[in-house]
Symmetry: C2
């Protein structure tokens, strides 16, 4: 299929086809990729989606369901379908995908769906439902090709081909013993290429990366990325093979984790859906704003305590907002670089120490540079060299503090087990605001009054 | 291999082994995965790295080179190696990896390496060097398995196996005609499963996603993610097959793009390396800070123009910093959500319109909520109900403006072809600072003076 952009015409076409007969509708739907229909679903009413899924053949319908974003609730379609059709669709789904969708339903509804499935699918999905969603167990599929290390080439090839019927992909093959204990990995290429009398035992690679079911998905993503592998086996504590995670699952995890990082660093709750309702947005953001308001009062109380200075030098009122604001900007820069470094790899003590030192230096230099500009403005615009000196010192000091806190706060939070992206920016803004007011007012009270 | 954490012991072990004889060193190195040695390299001096690469067998050495982060300059090792060994290593590298490394060298040095390679590798790398690094062409490998649609099963299987010698992965197979024009994709599974007399022609899937060599890597990542495919063929304008891009390449692209997004939204140049020098950091961040200083002067000039109000009501000086700061925070929230939405998918006009409307509403509600708190403080702490009213109105107004600008500025920038992450936060802070001072001072000058 040509990769093309969906537009209003496509939506219109399907909407009109929905008025006509089922055969014509199915013909039109067949021109689209399942993922495109999933995108069009975002703009169709619930009844239309249910009608489309019910007239599509089960394998195509299951692809569409699988491609739907969980934000758009594929489970709502599934639960309203004719039970026979629903069973067909669920059995076509990869069991990890089916699990994610079914997990969104009430326990009664889950039961209703699982009772209709064949024994193996139902038991696989029940197992997967027992893992937490954001762990390796919640991410893996149990559709995994295995060969016994006691098989010879033709037996193995037969087994692989037999199992491949069920699967999209069968390239990475895991070798297990009679007790399903993982012995290593073997590539299909090597099986096909080997002589007829070779045993899998002789072909297997016994050094390989694997994870246990409770490993965090971020760690799985890091391993897959670090080792450049296409799939990773999931095992229990006795190395019994439970399933595998493929790289395409990891891509979604990474986008999700990255979205969370960007939101958290900006003071938005990680649970806020990007295209969620305004009610959700208020619920996710208002608490952070109220905390920020508290810290803003703290900063403002500093201004109040220098009431005499402000009255005597009303011009400080404008300049100190510049110094506080610039501190916030510089701190945000240092924070972004540090948070991103932490999220890509763990830093050693020495690396952490050098990061803070670097940001201190960068803050001081950037502070002095901007301080110089402000000094020149005070000199030529206000004709007040002492004011210039006060502002230069305050700007340099505040950006130095911005650099130190921007780098050290996320590192400290990480060490004590708090997500550095969440709380960092509030703590740091508090520092740069407080010092942004304190430094110019205090230096001014010493040098100018 | 067990997935384990590297620590100082590992580094120490290798450092002491470097003092001993080569055989012992090689034995110790063999206990590590290539990607682990690449990580240890980050802490070793240049001579040590060159020594290790020169004593490792070429296939292992090339894996280490391939796993090195480009920030740590694998090309510096390559260029100093004995030419014979270097040629062996480069020929072992996937040609897309070799290209990325060689691209970092001077033209003379590139020539020196390419002249020693066999004709095919040299010509592949020369072709790849001609594409821009962040395009599909720059990302793809030319190691691609093909079968002719005129082949029968055994011929195809033979061809696949023959080509697979050169490759890590040979699962997705592309079917071409006599002129190397891409006809479709065929799965190895289907070839193996089919009867002996079946033609590839009958097995090929003619609907598939493909990209041209100049498509941006972000778009390639989006396609691979959208269609959940493991590799994507790269073609020229006549559908002639040029190569393929695999999903593991895309993971790195995504991490890179996400790092850029987080940095840009925080006012850091996207070129700044996370673990770069302080000089680079100053160069990357100072320009943004100076621009910010300009906009801060703009905001401060508003305070100056209300000199009389500030003198008559010095208390405003503290409160207006709260209102400006809260506007900045609320705008950052709206900005993060909108920028992330844009980077994950294009918004239709209608979606864009509804996004701005939603953020307007969220801003107004959050503004009124925080405004109410400030009103109560003014009422009970300052015993000044009119001041409370002024602050309530100003807070609500500024957070409403924050919501509108936070959502609309990135959408507008995107439409006019400017990267929304780059300039948005500066423009938006300018709005929230200016209105954060203007609104309370102006309303106060009307109601309180």
């Amino acid at each position: 299929m040509q990769s093309f952009e969906l537009d209003k015409t496509d939506l219109q076409r399907i909407k009109s086809a929905l008025e006509g007969n089922d055969a014509d509708l199915e013909k039109i739907l067949n021109e689209y990729h399942a993922s495109e229909i999933a995108i069009l679903f975002e703009k169709l009413p619930q009844e239309a989606k249910e009608k489309i899924i019910s007239i599509l053949p089960a394998d195509f319908a299951s692809d569409v369901i699988a491609e739907m974003d969980e934000e758009h609730h594929p489970e709502d379609i599934l639960i309203n379908l004719d039970p026979e059709k629903r069973t067909e669709i669920v059995e076509e789904l990869d069991d990890d995908v089916a699990t994610d969708i079914i997990a969104q339903l009430d326990e009664d509804e889950q039961q209703e769906i699982l009772d209709d499935l064949d024994h193996e699918d139902a038991s696989n999905i029940r197992t997967l439902l027992s893992y937490a969603e954001d762990t390796a167990g919640g991410l893996m599929t149990t559709d995994v090709t295995t060969v016994n290390i006691g098989m010879n080439k033709m037996e193995a090839l037969d087994a692989v081909i037999k199992q491949s019927e069920e699967q999209e992909e069968f390239y990475t093959i895991f070798a297990v013993d009679d007790n399903n204990i993982l012995q290593g990995i073997v590539s299909l290429k090597n099986i096909i290429k080997s002589r007829h009398d070779v045993m899998i035992r002789d072909l297997v690679v016994t050094e390989f990366v694997h994870v246990q079911a409770d490993v965090d998905q971020e760690e799985v993503a890091r391993l897959i990325q670090q080792y450049n592998i296409n799939s990773i086996p999931v095992v229990d504590e006795h190395m019994k093979l439970l399933g595998r995670i493929t790289v395409d699952d990891i891509i979604d995890v990474m986008q999700e984790e990255n979205t969370e990082d960007i939101l958290k660093i900006s003071g938005v709750s990680e649970d806020e859906e990007l295209s969620g309702s305004w009610q959700d947005a208020v619920k996710s953001r208002l608490p952070w704003l109220v905390i920020n308001l508290g810290t803003a009062f703290l900063a403002a109380s500093i201004i109040r305590s220098f009431d005499d200075t402000v009255k005597a030098l009303p011009i400080m009122s404008a300049y100190m907002t510049i110094i506080a604001g610039m501190g916030g900007n510089a701190a945000t820069q240092a924070l972004a670089v540090t948070v991103r470094r932490i999220s890509l790899s763990d830093l050693t003590d020495n690396q952490a120490y050098r990061t803070v030192l670097k940001e201190l230096l960068v803050g001081m230099i950037n502070g002095a540079s901007n301080g110089l500009i402000v000094l020149l403005v005070a000199l030529f615009y206000d004709a007040n060299p002492m004011l210039g000196l006060v502002l230069f010192l305050a700007m340099t000091g505040n950006l130095l503090i911005a650099g130190i806190t921007g780098a050290s706060i996320p590192l400290i939070l990480k060490r004590v087990g708090i997500d550095p992206a969440v709380a960092s920016s509030i703590i740091i803004t508090t520092f740069t605001d407080c010092f942004g007011f304190l430094l110019p007012l205090w230096v001014a009270s010493k040098l100018l009054l």
